[in-house]
């Protein structure tokens, strides 16, 4: 430790003083130094002389800790979905008299050797946990690397330009972005999305603490509208291996819809002249999802196709408990969101329950489907883009839940609504606060005349 300390103390001479060799880029050194050691600044001579040990580094690292379950789950589930798809496509090809060749990725050939493709083909694609994790890491590590690499470089460049310390905000956004895109997304698109959102959604407003829209959600929205082919439909949710092309990495020929897409496309027996049990017709939306995607428990645990890190409601729940227990995330937003979702889904059930599509999708299925759980826990609770008042947080969460279901059920184009709901309510957060603040002022006037 004293060795490190000496290193840091010596290093400081290189940049700390104006005029020293690297002074122009001091924020970069400072970021490294304060990562290792808490800063040595003391309080001013007037005003409170002591400070709480809590700082923004710890605040942000708590969010990262809360996201770890989702990240670990993504390593596993990306591989699980991949091999399930590969096995299905291969058996179909072999059943039709053809053959199936498995393309080996970089990490797989590094870990298992170049004969890996032939080996698992010989084993009829029966794979274990290690194979799944290796594949998951093979897809997720580049996503994380690109997201953090691009984002932090831009942040650091702006910090140097502004002569400010590098802020910790992007440490959370970077991981969020990797978790809310499909694992199959091309890396150049991801890099573009990250650059777009860090520069135009955050730094132009002044950096961490000043942005209006959630940075990670903006990255996803950019991808969603700029490259819809890689971010919607039934073909993108299961990652494959690049065959060297520039396209997205999907398992060719495999269609894996998300639960919400399956629910939205469900046809109910009662509404059509078909016999019970006819192929493609279901009792209700939940049965359609159960037949095509997985059971409620599959959705809850997260063994279904979807964006890399947001399939598991269970992991999001664990994250929510960590955020609430440490006091970093607002439980008001989360509870408000669940209530809003339940109210709107209930209303949809009552009014549209008998129609084809997602109208009759039950509340508890809504809760575990798509990115709602992830979104309300990690995105809606962003302290910068959500309202600053306690009452405002209730309203904000409630409306996010409500709009999420509204988009899911009423909008024909987008099966998932949480992204749009969070961004919409980001825009309204200051308005919500405005009414809470006016109420405070009215109370003051009533009290003091």
């Amino acid at each position: 430790m004293s060795f490190l300390r000496n290193l840091v103390d010596q290093g400081r001479r290189l940049y700390a003083e104006p005029g020293s060799r690297f002074h122009k880029i001091w924020p970069l050194f400072d970021a490294g130094e304060t990562f290792l050691f808490t800063p040595g600044h003391t309080t001013p001579k007037h005003g409170p002389h002591v400070r709480d040990y809590m700082d923004l580094k710890r605040t942000m690292s708590m969010v990262i800790v809360a996201m770890l379950p989702c990240l670990l789950w993504s390593f596993y589930n990306v591989g699980l979905q991949h091999f399930a798809a590969v096995a299905q496509v291969a058996s179909r090809a072999i059943g039709a008299g053809g053959s199936y060749e498995y393309t080996v990725g970089w990490l797989q050939s590094l870990v298992f050797g170049s004969g890996y493709g032939a080996a698992i083909a010989a084993d009829e694609f029966h794979v274990g946990l290690v194979d799944e994790l290796v594949f998951g890491l093979q897809r997720m590590l580049p996503l994380l690397l690109v997201s953090y690499g691009v984002g932090l470089s831009i942040e650091a460049a702006f910090a140097v330009m502004r002569k400010e310390e590098v802020s910790e905000g992007y440490l959370v956004s970077g991981m969020l972005i990797a978790l809310i895109v499909p694992a199959s997304v091309p890396l150049w698109q991801l890099a573009l999305a990250v650059a777009f959102s860090v520069i135009l959604a955050k730094e132009v407003f002044g950096g961490t603490g000043m942005n209006i829209f959630n940075v990670a959600m903006m990255a996803r929205a950019f991808l969603f509208f700029a490259y819809p082919a890689q971010l919607s439909g039934d073909f993108v949710w299961v990652a494959g291996n690049d065959a060297g092309g520039a396209g997205s990495s999907i398992v060719d020929g495999y269609s894996g819809p998300t639960a919400l897409a399956a629910a939205a496309a469900s046809k109910l027996q009662g509404n059509h002249l078909v016999p019970d049990g006819a192929v493609g017709y279901f009792q209700d939306a939940a049965h359609a999802v159960q037949a095509q995607v997985g059971s409620w428990w599959d959705l809850f645990i997260g063994t279904v196709p979807g964006s890399a890190g947001e399939t598991s409601a269970l992991c999001a729940l664990i994250g929510a408990l960590i955020l609430v227990a440490t006091g970093v995330g607002s439980w008001r937003t989360m509870v408000g969101g669940v209530i809003g979702l339940a109210v709107m889904a209930g209303a949809m059930n009552v009014f549209f329950g008998q129609l084809d599509g997602i109208g009759g999708y039950p509340i508890h299925w809504h809760l575990v489907s798509g990115g709602f759980a992830f979104g309300i826990v990690y995105m809606a609770t962003d302290p910068v883009t959500s309202p600053q008042t306690d009452r405002g947080k209730w309203i904000y969460g409630f409306l996010i839940g409500l709009v999420t279901v509204l988009v899911r059920c009423v909008n024909p184009a987008y099966p998932e609504g949480v992204m749009l709901a969070v961004l919409l309510l980001n825009a309204f957060a200051p308005t919500i606060d405005y009414f809470i603040v006016r109420a405070n002022i009215r109370r003051r006037v009533a009290r003091l005349g």
Binding site: T38, T42, T43, P48, Y53, M54, L56, R444
Partner: protein
């Protein structure tokens, strides 16, 4: 007696509490009076270096308000006049003589209080150098003598960390306290509120005539006058209230009864680096050399000596002087060279915090704390810390933003006049982004004084 329960707030669990015993501190060789203790005061010197002064003789006055005087707390020679930037007076030092001779002060007969016109009372107080003991709300500076207070808040409690307990410090001073209260009664048509901790009261409080007693339970800031005003008698637009502590009222009463300048002070010494022998209620003199207040104990290097508490005091040098209103002196380690390896990532069971993210246990032991910031300055990222320690019905982060945007109208609507820096001190302490909330509040109040 009405008991008010304050729910939001935070009691800083610090080691280094003061033992509940009195001790006469050695007489200070030098005393000082510093106008820098009063922000905004432009002092005009009335004595010269080398001049002999008597106890209670005026040393300087405010250029903007010549009626209010600051008086010498001891008899002796003006040994040093310290000037700062642009010749602004920093302090006047007096080398003390062994025996006090008292300067002639304006005199009010206790029996004649009721018949003395109020302006005469105010003038006497101001000429006797006792005006600096009072504060006016809103804004929290010296009272404007031309305005009538609608009430006087007499604070008989203190919830700041390691602060002297006024209820203990006034022991045996019941007669002075009563005289002081009588004087306060004569200064206002409104009531005089005495605020106390709930539970057993010292007989000095119980015996007080002419005050309305209110008890405040709960964590700090339950003991701040800002909290008391909001709970008992919120101030309407244009109204002012005066406030002071029971220990200050004792001094007013002593002047009333004796006609002499009340230079005596009882100062609690506290803090983790203060020697145990020093941590007691020291009987000393206003403006005393701080080392004299510590008695035999030494003040070590690398210690921050605070004239006041860690929340609202001001740092003074090791050879500095205590102030006019000082009742507590705290010392903590400066901590400059301390740097914790990966401090932001590891659980910290022995650090000052109200955040569960730092250490997740509910019940906390008292901790040693130093003067470090424990983090870098960041823009506002609000995780609800400010709100959790603010019992007043204000929205601190919106008030902060309104002031930073120089929007005085909005700041006033948001309750700027209900707070001073001490009411938001806890916000500053707990803020993860290390913002100085109190400084911004004072900036807003300065703006109000200039433009309001």
């Amino acid at each position: 007696m009405i008991t008010h329960k304050i729910r939001k707030g935070f009691d800083l669990p610090l080691v280094g509490a003061t033992a509940r015993r009195f001790e006469d501190a050695p007489p200070p060789p030098v005393v000082a009076v510093a106008p820098t203790e009063f922000p905004g005061l432009k002092a005009k010197l009335r004595v010269r270096e080398g001049e002999r002064v008597l106890t209670g003789q005026p040393l300087f006055h405010d250029k903007g308000d010549p009626g209010a005087l600051w008086c010498a707390p001891a008899t002796g020679t003006v040994s040093r006049v310290v000037l700062g930037a642009r010749q602004a007076l920093q302090r006047v030092e007096i080398t003390c003589e062994a025996k006090d001779e008292f300067a002639e002060l304006p005199r009010i007969e206790p029996k004649a209080l009721a018949s003395t016109p109020r302006p005469a009372l105010v003038d006497a107080l101001r000429a006797a150098g006792l005006w600096p003991l009072l504060r006016q709300r809103p804004v929290g500076k010296l009272p404007d003598p031309t305005r009538q207070p609608v009430a006087i808040f007499l604070n008989g409690m203190d919830t700041e960390p390691l602060a002297a307990d006024p209820a203990f410090a006034v022991q045996g001073l019941g007669e002075d306290l009563q005289a002081g209260c009588d004087l306060l009664r004569a200064l206002t048509d409104g009531p005089v509120y005495l605020t106390v901790r709930p539970g057993e009261q010292p007989h000095e409080y119980l015996a007080l005539q002419g005050v309305e007693m209110h008890a405040f339970a709960g964590p700090h800031p339950a003991g701040l006058v800002g909290t008391h005003i909001q709970e008992i008698r919120p101030l309407r637009a244009g109204e002012v209230a005066w406030c002071l502590r029971t220990t200050d009222a004792v001094l007013l009463g002593r002047w009333l009864r004796t006609g002499r300048y009340p230079f005596e002070r009882v100062v609690a010494v506290a803090g983790s680096t203060a020697d145990e022998s020093a941590r007691r209620y020291a009987r000393t003199r206003q403006g005393a050399l701080v080392s004299a207040v510590f008695g035999r104990a030494r003040i070590g290097e690398g210690e921050r000596v605070i004239d006041g508490t860690v929340l609202s005091g001001r740092a003074i040098a090791r050879d500095g002087f205590i102030g006019i209103r000082t009742t507590t002196v705290t010392t903590i380690p400066e901590g400059e060279d301390e740097r914790d390896l990966l401090g932001w990532a590891l659980p910290q069971p022995r650090r000052l915090t109200m955040h569960r993210a730092v250490f997740p246990l509910l019940g906390r032991r008292a901790v040693e704390v130093d003067a470090r910031l424990h983090g870098g300055h960041r823009p506002i990222v609000n995780i609800g810390s400010w709100e959790a320690v603010t019992p007043l019905d204000i929205l601190p982060s919106f008030l902060y933003r309104a002031i930073e945007a120089n929007d005085l109208d909005e700041a006033l609507k948001l309750g700027l006049l209900e707070v001073t820096e001490e009411d938001v001190a806890l916000c500053t302490v707990v803020d993860p982004c290390k913002l100085d909330v109190g400084k911004v509040i004072r900036k807003g109040l300065d703006l109000y004084e200039r433009e309001g």
